[in-house]
């Protein structure tokens, strides 16, 4: 399929993957180049949080702009998925779709709020405790809401697989991504409750959850070939 024939929802699915992944990668590279964070594999070593890549300029400009833009794309993705699933015309599910999409939208707004406070204005951290707490709370709520909504949506997509004509392999990919998110979230919450912590724990989970949720957004690309923005002819 050529780029020219790509539907708008497909472009949204692509953007929801590439914008955050490229943004985080670029801001991390700039932060490392500036000598503010070590060069490592954060997925394994947990050596730098995503937040840490958005403190020093110019990396902070990129993280702020890229993630705020990503959040809008996430909102559009949820709007698309709602309209897509509503096309099965099961009236009893409409309220459910609306609720999940609203929760995911609020989560996306929270990540914008979380990102705009980042920058060198947060240094030294002891003088800006409120803003740091605000950032940590809003970012945490985003990850929680986003992952839970994706997990719930996977369950519903499986139920509607036949009506929606979703390929079995596409559902399996979504289920794997949703299960991994569930696993990471459960372990993180469990460890927090029992008070167990290892070095780089937050960074480790943050990078994995961000990547898994981006991959989940991308997975809709294969489902949305026949889901397009179009101008319907009005009846006379």
């Amino acid at each position: 399929m050529s780029n020219l024939s790509m539907t708008l929802p497909q472009r949204i699915a692509l953007a929801a993957f590439f914008i955050p992944v490229v943004t985080i990668g670029l801001s991390y590279a700039l932060t490392v180049a500036g000598g503010h964070e070590p060069l490592c594999i954060p997925y394994i070593e947990g050596c730098a949080t995503i937040t840490a890549t958005g403190i020093y300029y110019p990396a902070a400009y990129i993280l702020r702009a890229g993630i705020a833009m990503s959040a809008v794309v996430f909102i559009l993705w949820w709007y698309c998925v709602r309209l897509w699933l509503e096309s099965v015309r099961q009236a009893e599910l409409v309220a459910w779709f609306h609720t999940v999409v609203w929760v995911a939208t609020i989560g996306s707004v929270l990540i914008i709020a979380s990102m705009v406070v980042l920058g060198e204005n947060l240094l030294p951290s002891r003088d800006h405790r409120f803003l740091w707490r605000f950032h940590a709370t809003t970012a945490g709520l985003f990850f929680l809401a986003n992952s839970i909504c994706q997990i719930m949506m996977t369950v519903r997509m499986r139920q509607l697989r036949r009506q929606m004509n979703i390929a079995f392999s596409h559902i399996v990919v979504k289920e794997v991504l949703a299960l991994l998110q569930l696993l990471f979230l459960t372990v993180l919450i469990g460890m927090t409750i029992v008070g167990y912590e290892f070095e780089g724990m937050v960074a480790f989970f943050e990078w994995w959850l961000a990547t898994l949720s981006s991959l989940f957004y991308l997975s809709a690309w294969w489902d949305w070939r026949d889901f397009r923005l179009t101008r319907l002819e009005q009846s006379a």
């Binding site: 309209l83 397009r228 923005l229 009005q234």
Partner: protein, 219 residues
Amino acid sequence: MSFGQSIALISFILSMGTIAVTYGVATAQQTAAICNPFIDGCTDITHTGMKGDAGFIFRGGMIAACAFFVVWWVNMRVWLTRYAGKIALNSMQFFGTLSALGLLVGTAVLIPEKDATRWAVHVKGANLFFQGMLVALTINYVLILKARNKGLSVPSFRMKTALMAILWFMFVAFAGVTVGIEMSQGKRIIEWWATLFIGLYFLSSYWDWQDIKLVHTSS
């Protein structure tokens, strides 16, 4: 409400709402002067969105609005596809998207400390927004005019005509909407009005895009 109408509405409410809330918070926190900036030109939009909580609101709201502007141009392209050539549509969408990205970059570099702000980037980004937007909207208006003559229903045509006339009058009479670090009172007034009129142009498509929808055509 159709997808197209939602995008038109959000593009207006988010951009204008962000500026209004930013100004309200800035005046409440005394980082901007209290006045009617559309008449008095006591401050420019940029300086209301730099310091304090107003800065956070401005950066978050305007960057998000820029993303919606990009989608607004996609909608406009779909709406005009059957009535305009590919080159004209590509040009329109290119300048529209470029101007939105200019504003996005110009907004992202704003920080509370005026001396440390990368003004060159901000000024270029903001000017790219205003000049690029005028080019994109002009192409858009001409395409709509031609499409209307071919039978396209354009409920907002009078509103769009009035807005284009005003924007061009401002451009010719005041040598364009040019943003700088320190702007004259007149330039500041023009900036506020031009921003409002561009926002209204985005909103005007709400009445045109009732049939711009996302449709699942099962194969």
